[in-house]
Subunit: 327 residues, 2 copies
């Protein structure tokens, strides 16, 4: 059996084809986004749609709520699906909804997407005011329940405050280092250092806007960045969070960026000229691209143990603790 492989973020246009590619790519667990700007009720509808997929594709996927579930899925030859939100909208202004969502299987939540939320500041706001009053309550409640705080889309100060305020390690599930590719969504050395020194994890993204040279980013360049990050932060604190949005129509990236909050069209990391989803690098077009990443990591000198960690074991070890309620 190959070492475990985990993707800490995908938001694909789910289909049997994609679930088969997960199996072909040896991907044992995927953190899937089930909500961006959805209300509580709308996000529940998305769970209902997943429940149907679990029934229809029960030979390929299964729900997972713990590291043990991920291991069980692997033993069964299925891919474990872990639910997460990219905004805090599905908890509305109601702290009690976090426990409800835990019962419904949600395990990872971003405190913000690109905008100011009720909890913290997103990376596209002009001013970053850090954790709000409710934000601190939500961090403490997520710590209590065993839910992972994800700051992938959050602004610098908010992220540093979440790391500091949280009594448990947090995550950046999908982003790259700013020193490799200075995109607004990529993270400063200061943030990644604070995150990993507190026991947190970062998942490296394969989304072209996060990559040096975008869609033309080479496997060597990506693997070299991972090697440098491993030296800086430790090979046990890093993993993959591909941000793969496979087979999605461009209307979906418009929804991700604009939700229902604006009358002016927001292009996020894109532009009016390049408004849609960018093309994936040819070595990571779908879940079978995990083979290429493993090969790339080997070529830049990682040993088998380090590769196994980065490809999945690090996330599994992190989840082992992070998904359990505080004792």
């Amino acid at each position: 059996m190959t070492p475990i492989r985990i993707d800490a973020l995908q938001y694909a246009n789910w289909s049997r084809k994609i679930f088969e590619q997960m199996r072909d790519g040896g991907v044992d667990a995927v953190h899937v986004t089930i909500a961006y700007h959805e209300s509580f009720r709308e996000a529940v509808l998305n769970v209902e749609a997943w429940n149907e997929m679990f029934l229809r594709h029960t030979d390929l996927i299964r729900p997972a709520r713990s590291a043990a579930d991920v291991r069980a899925a692997r033993d069964e030859g299925r891919t474990a699906i872990i639910f997460g939100f990219q905004t805090a909208q599905p908890i509305e202004d109601d702290l009690g909804l976090l426990a409800i969502w835990r019962d419904l299987g949600m395990r990872i939540m971003q405190l913000t997407y690109n905008n100011q939320s009720l909890l913290a500041t997103g990376c596209y706001e002009a001013e970053d005011t850090g954790l709000t009053r409710m934000g601190k309550q939500v961090v403490a409640e997520m710590n209590r329940l065993g839910l992972v705080i994800d700051m992938s889309h959050s602004a610098e100060r908010s992220t540093l405050e979440a790391i500091e305020y949280s009594s448990r390690p947090i995550a950046i599930t999908h982003a790259n280092p700013h020193w490799w590719h200075p995109a607004l969504r990529n993270k400063s050395d200061k943030v990644i250092r604070a995150l990993t020194e507190a026991g947190g994890m970062i998942g490296f993204s394969l989304y072209p806007h996060h990559l040096k040279d975008g869609s033309d980013c080479s496997l060597e360049s990506f693997s070299g960045m991972v090697a440098e990050a491993a030296e800086k932060y430790g090979a046990d604190k890093i993993g993959i969070g591909s941000d793969l949005c496979q087979d999605q129509p461009d209307s979906v990236v418009t929804w991700m960026r604009n939700g229902r909050w604006t009358r002016d069209l927001d292009f996020g990391e894109g532009s009016a000229a390049q408004a849609g989803f960018p093309e994936q690098p040819n070595w990571f077009a779908d879940n079978t691209g995990f083979d290429a990443i493993a090969r790339g990591l080997s070529q830049v000198g990682f040993d088998d143990g380090e590769i196994a960690g980065i490809m999945g074991e690090n996330w599994l070890r992190f989840w082992e603790d992070a998904f359990e309620p505080a004792s």
Copy 2:
């Protein structure tokens, strides 16, 4: 340790006092109503309120989702709380919400309260048209998921059709035989016979409108009814479902009867002259009244095994299977 005691229906104005009385009365598990006319979101708010109670009174109560949880609660010296609905309103017109509710701990649902629902006909309607199209789908889905169909407030034909259509035994959690006290809410011999012959259970009610002589009903009269029912239907098919609404203000019975569906005031089993909650019989004013019932059953000649069954073991055995998903 005394034999297990289970109450298959209460809707009290929950307080530490009442949870202490559950312990004093040796009540190991209670099926509590968490929704009458509440929408999905409102019923979720009620779960949130219960989550707070579980935190505040963790020494007295705990959530339960299976017969094993009931046994664990008993071993811990706590009362197991099982969630149920008295209408189908919290699933709206959305079959997928049943699986959501199962994850949130709901285990027992009435297909109707007193009125026509999307699923079947309530006992106060002039015409009883039986299971609707959606009603049949809901019965099948509840069968699949391991949720108990409760027809306590439903009309005769609807109840008979639910018994017939369901592939698993169903329940009437709180009602009495019509032959003992011919109230509209009490059940015909035909219904109780069909129910129990199909492996279902009936819980006998201590709500005065369901009792012969109402608030003045004697323990002897009630116990005699149970003895006659045991002869007719089997001592293993009957239990207690007290319908205790302890410490509730009369505004709550008005809500139960009227919800938001009427401009004219409906008095249900009461009347304009007696609009509020009726007074409980003096031998069953709260959970400590379970001692009186056990005594009454002994006095009418039940043996210890039969008493243990009626007081709780029958419900536990029924739940053992009924709360598990179909295999």
